[in-house]
């Protein structure tokens, strides 16, 4: 059986073949219509197979794909007049979280994103999208600022997890995340979140105590990475694929559990294959949600958000 990568390669080869035929058609005036249609059918067939055979682990890999569009790319594509704002006002400016103010149609909003690098060098600069405590504090500062000026907040989530290290512990990673969870619960402006890649545990949740949460089809959201899950529960990090199967971290699973509000379709192969299309879908959702959420008054909004998170949990009472 071909892997997804091999199937994608095959599609690329077939597409190249089609281009060749079209070129010959144009230059030599020969009609290849039938052959081209045949090739197109073949492509469709492989694409369907990819979608059908997509396992949770395939989605994990797609969510981490190097070419996957990052938060800043969505921000630049969707919003106008973006002004990036830096720093937490206490310690520094974390590069793994970006934020600022911007415009989308007639709405003025605050935008916050967990930012992975777009290449290796950038990834080092962005600490691979693993925010430090000052990143979460920057996010909170911008959210409080949004509340002051009555701006809705849009967050983009894409992190393997909050940074784990000596410096993070010294500066209170736990406190920073906890504070965000608590303060987000009380924000008097609408908060809409998009999980665009990896939704790694508390590091993701710290910017996702939101009124509406959407996931891209091939993004993941979980209590920790499949590698971490396998290593903690089975003492064997190499069983990550198996872990992905049981963890319920795909958009579909999380929609079933009502953790998220909706799934954004991606082209076969992932969001990078047709970024324009994916970002347009995201934009449409932002606009329609803003339309309805801005109609709620402050206390309706806060109460609804409270009820949403209050309801999470499965338990029973025995006698």
């Amino acid at each position: 059986m071909m892997t997804i990568k091999e199937k994608e390669q095959k599609i690329e080869e077939l597409n190249l073949k089609i281009s060749e035929l079209k070129l010959i058609e144009e230059n030599e005036g020969i009609d290849f219509q039938e052959q081209i249609e045949e090739l197109n059918d073949k492509i469709k067939e492989i694409e369907d197979l990819i979608v059908k055979e997509m396992t949770p682990w395939d989605r994990v890999l797609t969510s981490r794909e190097k070419k996957r569009p990052t938060a800043l790319e969505y921000i630049q594509e969707i919003f106008e007049d973006f002004v990036e704002l830096h720093g937490d006002r206490y310690f520094g400016d974390d590069k793994a979280i970006v934020g600022g103010i911007a415009r989308i149609d007639d709405f003025k909003v605050t935008v916050i994103g967990e930012q992975k690098g777009m290449n290796t060098k950038d990834n080092i600069y962005r600490n691979f999208g693993m925010p430090a405590p000052e990143g979460y504090r920057k996010a909170l500062r911008l959210m409080k600022q949004a509340e002051k000026f009555n701006r809705p907040i849009i967050t983009f989530i894409d992190t393997p997890g909050a940074f784990c290290g000596v410096s993070a512990e010294e500066r209170g990673q736990g406190e920073a995340i906890a504070r965000n969870l608590m303060e987000m619960a009380g924000l008097k402006v609408p908060v809409i979140s998009f999980i665009i890649g990896e939704g790694g545990s508390g590091g993701a949740l710290a910017v996702a105590v939101s009124d509406k949460i959407y996931m891209l089809e091939n993004s993941i959201y979980g209590v920790l990475s499949p590698e971490g899950f396998a290593s903690i529960l089975w003492k064997d990090g190499s069983r990550a694929q198996e872990a992905a199967d049981v963890m319920k971290i795909t958009a579909e699973d999380l929609a079933d559990l009502k953790i998220i509000d909706g799934i954004i379709k991606e082209p076969v192969g992932g969001a990078h294959k047709d970024f324009k299309k994916v970002s347009t879908s995201v934009k449409e959702i932002i606009l329609s949600e803003l339309e309805s959420l801005t109609k709620l008054n402050n206390s309706e909004l806060v109460n609804k958000r409270y009820e949403r998170f209050r309801a999470f949990g499965e338990f029973k009472i025995v006698e």
């Binding site: 080092i124 600490n127 691979f128 909050a162 940074f163 784990c164 290290g165 000596v166 410096s167 993070a168 512990e169 010294e170 500066r171 209170g172 990673q173 736990g174 406190e175 995340i177 906890a178 504070r179 969870l181 608590m182 303060e183 619960a185 009380g186 545990s201 508390g202 949740l205 710290a206 105590v209 959201y221 979980g222 209590v223 920790l224 899950f229 903690i232 529960l233 049981v246 963890m247 319920k248 971290i249 999380l254 559990l257 953790i259 958000r305 409270y306 998170f309 209050r310 999470f312 949990g313 499965e314 338990f315 029973k316 009472i317 025995v318 006698e319």
Partner: protein, 294 residues
Amino acid sequence: MPIGELFRKNYKYIELTKKNEAGKLEGEEKAVPSIPDDLLIKCPSCSEKLYKEALAENMYCCTACGHHFRINAKERLQEIADEGSFEEIDRTMVSVNTLDYPEYEKKIASYQEKSGNYDGVVTGTCSIEGHKVVIGVMDSTFMMGSMGSVVGEKITRAIEMADAEKLPLVIFTASGGARMQEGIMSLMQMAKTSSALKRFSDNGGLYITVITDPTTGGVTASFAMLGDIIIGEKGALIGFAGKRVIEQTIKQKLPDEFQTVEFLLEHGFIDAIAPREELKELLARILSLHQEVQ
């Protein structure tokens, strides 16, 4: 670790360690204090042999060096609550197998049998030197005090009860973090408990956290660090990421005091530290500075 940090000079506690054959860092396995049924018990800190009975009388603190042994929720309540004042709520709440995780029910059942409790936290009301409070005590002997739906729900109900009855809230934390077997639902408990604390705080409620050994992960990153006043029990471990995870990531051995309440006090994240024998008096004093005994 970001590569850039390699070149910074701020590592005052770098110690390079060799790996042994098993690939583990040297000195990684620290003896976990536990209380077996034997008559004598060896202190993991000073190696003194202690009579179990004498140890219990001394609040499970080593009579020679003062090392604090881990204690379960029942023992903690005996030390903190005025005699006969504790009334438990939500005692029989039990978890369900959200992920259909193999053998999860069996595992829970065995812990229930061992501990006499239904999950990792005991909640209720009690008085502390006459001050009525809502109290929650996490129990590290129940699946490492990990937080799943039950722990999250019981903590949330305790917060809501304190809010409704205008009582102070005291929570003793002890947890390995989120309960992996309950997946995303355990992550959501962080948001749920923190949301409830936001309401309680906005309504003027007093919340005191007592950090006990060990407090890590999702509990640190939610209600443990959200107290109006945060007290650490002497020597308790507290951190976000597991020490072993950090050591494996940065390939360095971390010093003993890293991620202790003393370390957090030094870095400004905890208000005060007290040895076990002084905790009750300290709690009572703080409570009396907020409201008189009624």
